[in-house]
Symmetry: C2
Subunit: 102 residues, 2 copies
DNA sequence: CCTAGTTCTTTCCTGATTGGAAAGTACTTT
DNA sequence: AAAGTACTTTCCAATCAGGAAAGAACTAGG
């Protein structure tokens, strides 16, 4: 069986969110938003979608007295992301594209 | 500037079509359809979308007396695919993974 | 106390996509 | 004439995506 692309992760904005989160333990709402250059509402909605899928954990806390939100990948989210990248790799591999010169 | 994902190519079905075509000079309608396990109408529509974008050439001909359709990537389509994979790679790379083979 | 600001979340709305089913086109074969 | 091949187009219903605007919940300032 060919590995399947995961539609929850494949959407461009969510792919970028998940990939960003995969690189770190945890990331702040504003950091992700500014990094991807998206609006608050878009990030909020995609983060909720990823949480609903069980891929992202949303943690609420405070810095000083101000509210703050952090995101992190769940174990399931990391596994789904890894599987998705494997699926992408399988697709790209058949085209013969390579990072190597020549 | 960060390389951008190309929405025409990013859609799962079209990504697979383009990647399949990138591997060959030309591919038959039925070959692509069966390879991706999609319906005639879906392939027809996606192929037209890729043609409209200038990424795929649709050639009509005959085998014996039966009509047949072949698809091939245009130079532009190959360039767009390469750029798209580079964008994908840029996103995935930050997580430490890769979509490219060794 | 009242207003303004921060940090998101939700709702409202509108446009774009996607895929399946079914009908259509244009031949060819039986 | 009827059926089959090889698609293409139309019809449709389901998402989905993003922006704007309104909310929510609290804090800070005058």
């Amino acid at each position: 069986m060919t590995p399947q692309l995961n539609p929850v992760i494949h959407a461009p904005t969510r792919l970028q969110i998940v990939s960003l989160l995969a690189a770190a333990d945890e990331a702040e709402f504003a950091f992700v938003r500014d990094n991807l250059d998206i609006s608050d509402s878009v990030l909020s909605k995609h983060a909720s979608a990823l949480e609903a899928a069980g891929y992202v954990k949303i943690r609420k806390g405070h810095v000083g007295k101000r509210p703050r939100t952090w995101f992190s990948l769940t174990r399931e989210g990391r596994a789904a992301y890894t599987a998705h990248v494997a699926a992408l790799q399988a697709i790209v591999a058949q085209s013969g594209l390579s990072v190597l010169p020549g």
